[in-house]
């Protein structure tokens, strides 16, 4: 958090303080309970309003949802609150209004770690791997909540991303950008989630790697796993989207299927460069 409540004075003296790796999230506290809330989409963040800490609201009654077996995509200009919306769905910030429901349950009061246990997997945009740990340890940490034998899942991840198997003993921080993204997605898959949330999985990777990653994501979605994804490459993302949301300044601007939005004149003019 920039500035924060206490400022940054004296904090860069690494001989006494280690700000690196510090969490920015202000997650929902532990101890909340879920309530039954039947009906509705598989995962929905409905009418979410909120921001970081005591700061101004970033989301204004924003709604995003994904149905079983579908790919939902969130696009929008920089600063539209796309990443914030994803974090809000995951409980990484406190909502002032609105609710999050998963599979017929209201999980608004659950902490992020409880949501992981409910079957949500999330790949953040940045800092999405444990750089000082090996690839294999990253995947193990993905499976942290599992008490059963997860070697089968690990083998599946290695099948999906063969390069990771080769580099499994290497520190994840030493890998290239594309490989890091694969580790990040692999880590999230290790929980065997019921829904996968990806925040700009293709940010900062070359176009070839990007196509490759898109293919893998589609492959994952085809197994029936719902995918909710934020994407900068709006055109490519809308082409594969069953459902798409355009956010502007923390509000829903347009909603529809990927094809509808691609065909929508206003969306094309504003976000797809004509």
């Amino acid at each position: 958090m920039s500035g924060g409540d206490y400022g940054d004075r004296g904090n860069r003296d690494l001989s006494i303080a280690k700000p690196g790796g510090m969490g920015e999230a202000r997650p929902v506290r532990e101890g909340g309970h879920e309530h039954a809330a039947p009906g509705g989409p598989f995962l929905i963040g409905e009418a979410m309003t909120g921001g970081y800490g005591r700061g101004a609201d970033i989301l204004h009654s924003c709604t995003i949802a994904v149905e079983r077996g579908e790919i939902a995509v969130i696009v929008g200009p920089n600063g539209a609150g796309k990443s914030t919306a994803m974090k809000a769905v995951f409980g990484m910030l406190n909502l002032r209004e609105g609710s999050v429901r998963l599979d017929g349950e209201d999980i608004t009061e659950l902490s992020p770690q409880a949501r992981v246990r409910k079957g949500m997997g999330f790949v953040p945009q940045t800092h999405n791997i444990f750089t000082s740990m090996t690839v294999e340890e990253n995947l193990e940490m993905g499976a942290f909540i599992r008490d059963d034998d997860f070697r089968g899942t690990m083998a599946q991840v290695y099948d999906l991303f063969p390069i990771l198997k080769e580099k499994r003993r290497q520190a994840a921080g030493e890998l290239s950008g594309g490989q890091r993204q694969q580790v990040a997605v692999g880590r999230a898959l290790m929980t065997q989630p019921k829904v996968l949330m990806l925040d700009e999985p293709t940010a900062g990777v070359s176009p070839i790697v990007m196509d490759e990653l898109f293919d893998r994501i589609i492959e994952v979605a085809r197994t029936g796993l719902p995918v909710l994804m934020v994407e900068q490459n709006a055109r490519q993302a809308l082409e594969i989207a069953d459902k798409a949301y355009v956010l502007v300044q923390g509000r829903n601007a347009h909603t529809g299927t990927g094809k509808e939005l691609l065909a929508d004149d206003e969306v094309r003019r504003s976000f797809l460069g004509g």
Binding site: G4, Y6, K18, G21, T131, M141
Partner: protein, 351 residues
């Protein structure tokens, strides 16, 4: 210090001289520094774990050691009163688990009451450094209030494994080599504790989750790792390290609250020299500081007299610095490292 007693015969080519020099060196430098280094390493490991996982330098660590040792001493006295003994080993070794439990409770209570508040505010680490200083003063006062500011000797085990006299009789050398049992216990315990710690951090699920939290808090949260649990486990391990380090130091020397407060400097020097956040560095740093401190404050006259030809025999003590200034050694090493290699020798992964 008396220069080596020597018969009137011509000296120089005597191979015994080299051996005597070696024994004197081992007796006055190598063995004490080894034991002291182990104690510093254990202390520095505690500091480095807090730094790596909770992200701040814990200035209360010296006094955590003091308070933990105090609890151990009190339990030792209780055990002695009950007639329990571990002879020939010191009874304090039996009391260590109680010391660890008591310290862990105290430290976890402190965390609940104080540190957690700042963690929830996402306070910057430097704030926690200052907070730990406040905790230091409170622990410090608590220790003095309960056990008093004076020296306490609580070692009731056999004093020597090998005494200087026995060694001389055994080898026929002029120099004696004394190995205190506390020195042997210190080194053995340190090796066991360090091995356990490394196994825990690198092989167990909980240990790995601690490294994950250290690396990236938010991602740890997204992996379902409970941060409060990581923090709790960290404090318990740090309590154990502090109590073991403090008790070993107290057995080897003596227990005095102020000395433990002063230990903070060499401990921090060790952790920083090795590279904050790197457990391996903390151990290396501990030995570097210990050997420098002992080596620089040792009067080398005796060793030099054995080794040098008569013409070069030193007239002074050949002591670089009086033992009163031993803390200056840590200070100077600390400054040199911070100037030329701020990440430490082992490049703390996370610094």
């Amino acid at each position: 210090m008396r220069p080596a007693a020597r018969s009137g015969t011509e000296r120089g080519a005597d191979p015994m001289d080299a051996l005597n020099a070696l024994v004197a060196l081992a007796n006055f430098v190598l063995i004490p520094a080894m034991a002291y280094g182990s104690q510093l390493a254990l202390g520095a490991l505690g500091v480095t774990l807090i730094y790596g996982i909770l992200r701040f330098s814990n200035f209360a660590h010296g006094d955590t050691m003091a308070i933990g040792t105090m609890i151990t001493i009190l339990v030792t006295w209780g055990l002695q009163a009950l007639g329990v003994s571990l002879s020939p080993l010191p009874t304090a070794l039996l009391a260590i688990p109680f010391g660890i439990a008591g310290t862990a409770l105290l430290v976890l209570g402190t965390d609940r009451l104080i540190y957690r508040f700042y963690r929830e505010q996402k306070a910057k680490p430097v704030i926690l450094v200052i907070v730990s200083m406040g905790v230091m003063f409170i622990y410090n006062g608590l220790t003095r209030f309960v056990i008093g500011p004076n020296d306490q000797d609580f070692d009731d085990g056999t004093r020597f494994l090998i005494s200087a006299r026995d060694f001389k009789a055994m080898t026929g050398l002029d120099e004696g080599l004394a190995l205190k049992s506390t020195q042997a216990i210190t080194v053995v315990t340190a090796v066991i504790v360090v091995a356990l710690l490394f196994w825990f951090l690198n092989r167990t699920r909980t240990g790995k989750s601690m490294r994950a939290y250290s690396d990236n808090e938010d991602l740890a949260l997204l992996s379902g790792i409970n941060p409060e649990r990581v923090v709790t486990v960290t404090w318990i391990i740090v309590s154990a390290l502090a109590v073991v380090a403090g008790t070993l130091y107290g057995l080897d020397k003596s227990f005095k609250p102020f000395t433990y407060f002063q230990l903070l400097l060499p401990i921090f020097a060790s952790a920083i020299v090795g590279g904050l956040g790197s457990p391996l560095g903390a151990i290396a740093g501990g030995f570097i500081i210990a050997f420098s401190e002992v080596g620089i404050t040792y009067a080398w006259k005796k060793v030099a007299t054995y080794l040098l030809p008569e013409a070069l025999e030193p007239s002074g003590l050949v002591q670089l610095m009086s033992t009163d200034y031993k803390f200056a050694v840590s200070f100077v090493i600390l400054i040199i490292v911070l100037l030329f290699r701020p990440t430490g020798l082992f490049k703390g992964k996370s610094v």
